[in-house]
């Protein structure tokens, strides 16, 4: 490792301190995200306990095949980003860059499938505030299901989008040789962020697509 391969920002004493700070910072940020999404999961839990039938009915409206594909896509993307990181750790550059691009592409695929779902929801008129035509005694409480579904998936989608941008930026920087096996904390943090995005979906999928469907 040569001195110029590790740029240490002026507030840090050395590269080790910089790395430690970046890692702790990312974990702290992930903690805040858990609390942010936690509100939606708490609200879901409360509403589900109060109106189990309406929520089960709402679950049946979600597209299980598409949801499953989305889950597979995101899980695969977590795998590719982990592989990318591994490649950088082993001194690689080209393969890693392509793996970052692949991860980002999978993220875009996820968003596209979600777009298809939203379109179908619009056709089925289950978007409260925009187009909601459910009737019947369960309709009012079912609306709560859909409100939570859209707020949760929209915020999640926003995080996916940010992640895609980050991944592409990282891919470009990896290609340009900005990282080395000893100095790639930005990549580690990007991967951590992407894993968070994945984990949030791992909670969303069962809660909204699986539970009570039968």
């Amino acid at each position: 490792m040569t001195a110029e391969s590790t740029r240490v920002a002026e507030q840090f004493d050395d590269a080790a301190q910089q790395r430690e700070a970046a890692t702790l910072g990312m974990w702290a940020f992930l903690a805040t995200e858990i609390l942010f999404f936690g509100v939606l999961f708490a609200a879901y839990t409360v509403c589900r306990l109060l109106w189990p039938d309406a929520f089960a009915s709402g679950s049946r409206h979600t597209d299980l095949p598409l949801g499953t594909v989305e889950t597979a896509v995101l899980l695969t993307s977590s795998f590719t980003v982990a592989l990318a990181l591994r490649d950088v750790q082993l001194g690689g550059r080209r393969v890693a860059a392509w793996l970052f691009v692949a991860t980002a592409t999978l993220g875009v695929v996820f968003l596209a499938i979600h777009g298809v779902e939203y379109h179908a929801d619009y056709e089925a008129a289950v978007i409260p505030g925009l187009r909601y035509e459910e009737v019947g005694p369960l309709a009012p409480a079912k609306q709560l299901f859909f409100i939570l579904y859209y707020v949760t998936t929209l915020f999640h989608g926003l995080h996916v989008t940010i992640g895609v941008v980050l991944l592409l930026v990282m891919a470009w920087r990896v290609r340009a040789g900005a990282f080395s096996p000893d100095d790639h904390s930005a990549l580690e943090n990007t991967a951590l962020y992407w894993h968070l995005v994945d984990i949030v979906w791992i909670f969303v999928f069962p809660l909204y697509y699986l539970v009570g469907r039968a």
């Binding site: 507030q11 301190q17 702790l24 903690a31 805040t32 609200a43 109060l50 915020f155």
Partner: protein, 533 residues
């Protein structure tokens, strides 16, 4: 070697253009940017308070319409809570002092720090826009369904502004946590940290973990306003109490965001003025962490009469008593620190002692409210208003001002006028008590809060309160005068004008941009190892 020739410029002299300030990475300059902004918002919120006290001086609602009054008290609450109290100490004194106190050159993420200030300003802009467009009338607590389905005011604009400023809070907390964990200088172990640093740690935990809950809750309010559908509306089968749970889950820890830093400041002011180590350092540290953690468990005490179950009331009551214990310990420890001390009574010490007294009164009245049966009568009355103003204004604001006075020489390189400062501090103490003590009595007599016009029997107490507010307002204006004067004509300060311990006093006043010209020496005997006189 002539050190003066090689001495780096102070952070104030290091670049004089507007650009050098607005694009700075220096935590000390960012602290000043925050200080200017929060002072502006303090006076904005203060004008709202003055208007309220003007209206309340007489029982009839004759100064403004009911709707205007409702918008005024809402504005006062929103501005004072989110744009003054929460950022005041952490973002000004915390930003300035934290790296200095731990011997670092800056915080862990300086650019994030600057970005946090811009987020604050953006949030502030939304709030001002709301004011100019006609205001919001829901109270700073935004209870549903009034705020979502019934209010005809600019709820969305306000909620977006608070949402944005919340992220300023979250990122500041994140920055501080990482800074304290990773950037302490050689020899600065955890239990050699000054209590102010510990209070920054505690407050950062709360800012980081509680504020995201507020953010999402406000997002849900916004969704309900925008699309007419939501989970808090009983007409849809939603639950207005769910909103209150989410809101108070953040807003109770928020009051600890406001008070923990002030406790940290007071510990510094007292030890420096008494030139003696704090009594019970470890207990003080555990109290800070205890308050931060247990503070997350008591939110239901805001909802004793809201429709919660009787059992929830019991649980939240005992937890609220538990959280009062560490605060009591701190008051006793500060008092014990005076024993065998070498006590000087400059303005910082007057502010610190004022804090201890007023915080104690505020805290004791909190016990009345924690006793759930008593709370039934006292909640939603002026008793609660007085309780939280004793802690927030008598406590947090006085600690903030005491800190500004104490570190003024370090921040500006100038000494302020001690005579004027003491006068202002005493005037503030007296004006404060005249303003808020009568409110305890009014509330205990049954005067409800958020009342634009009130029954005539509360007239005398309100006149006293309004009179006090005139004194208090004057006391707040005085520091502007003598501080500004000191910038031009004040005596220049050396590195350590108070003879205080702490790494910040080992560098010049004002410090150079990178804080230290040589690595600071950490005293192995701890943060307050004063020699006996």
């Amino acid at each position: 070697m002539n050190l003066a020739e090689h001495a780096p410029p102070s952070y104030l002299a290091d670049g004089v253009t507007l650009r050098s300030w607005l694009f700075t990475h220096d935590h000390k300059r960012i602290a000043i940017l925050y200080a200017l902004a929060i002072t502006f918002f303090f006076f904005l919120g203060g004008v709202a308070a003055a208007l309220m006290r003007l209206e309340l001086a007489t029982p009839a609602g004759d100064v403004m319409s009911a709707e205007t009054y409702n918008k005024t008290f809402t504005f006062h609450g929103v501005v004072m809570v989110w744009f003054f109290l929460i950022p005041s100490i952490p973002n000004t004194l915390g930003n300035f002092l934290l790296p200095l106190m731990i011997g670092a050159r800056d915080v862990a993420f300086p650019r994030l720090n600057l970005f946090s200030w811009y987020l604050y300003m953006a949030g502030g802009l939304f709030t001002i826009a709301c004011l100019l467009l006609g205001g919001v009338d829901t109270g700073w607590t935004f209870y549903t369904p009034f705020s979502t389905m019934f209010s005809n005011s600019h709820v969305l604009l306000t909620v977006v502004g608070v949402f944005i400023v919340g992220f300023s809070s979250i990122l500041t907390g994140l920055n501080f946590i990482v800074t304290i964990h990773t950037m302490r200088t050689e020899g600065m172990t955890w239990f050699r940290l000054p209590l102010f640093v510990w209070s920054m740690y505690g407050v950062s935990l709360v800012m980081m973990l509680a504020t995201p809950v507020l953010a999402m809750t406000l997002a849900l309010i916004a969704a309900e306003r925008l699309f007419g559908v939501g989970i808090f509306d009983p007409a849809l089968g939603g639950d207005p109490l769910l909103f209150q749970h989410f809101f108070w889950f953040y807003s109770h820890p928020a009051v600890y965001i406001m008070v923990l830093p002030s406790m940290g400041v007071v510990s510094e002011l007292i030890t420096a003025s008494v030139r003696r180590r704090i009594f019970g350092y470890r207990f003080m540290v555990y109290s800070i962490i205890g308050i931060a953690v247990v503070g997350f468990l008591v939110w239901g005490h805001h909802m004793f009469v809201a429709g919660q179950s009787m059992y929830a009331g019991i649980v939240f009551s005992i937890l609220s008593f538990v959280v009062a214990v560490p605060s009591a310990v701190k008051v006793f420890n500060w008092t014990a620190t005076l024993y065998k001390g070498d006590i000087a009574f400059g303005a910082p010490m007057i502010y610190a002692l004022g804090f201890v007294g007023l915080f104690m009164l505020g805290g004791l009245t909190g016990l009345f409210l924690a006793a759930v049966a008593l709370d039934v009568n006292l909640t939603d009355t002026y008793f609660v208003v007085a309780h939280f103003h004793y802690i927030m204004v008598g406590g947090a604001v006085m600690a903030y001002l005491g800190g500004i006075h104490f570190w003024w020489p370090k921040i500006t390189g100038r000494i302020y006028s001690e005579a004027w400062a003491r006068f202002a501090a005493i005037l503030m103490f007296l004006g404060f008590n005249l303003t808020f003590f009568p409110q305890f009595l009014a509330g205990a007599e049954g005067m409800p809060r958020r009342y634009h016009a009130y029954p005539a029997e509360f007239g005398l107490l309100n006149v006293l309160s309004s009179a006090g507010s005139v004194l208090l307002a004057s006391a707040y204006l005085l520091p502007i005068g003598y501080f500004l004067w000191s910038l031009r004509h004040g005596e220049r300060a050396g590195p350590d004008p108070w003879g205080a311990k702490g790494l910040e006093w080992e560098t010049d006043s004002p410090p150079p941009t990178h804080n230290f010209t040589r690595p600071p020496q950490v005293d192995e005997n701890g943060p307050y190892a004063y020699a006996p006189p």
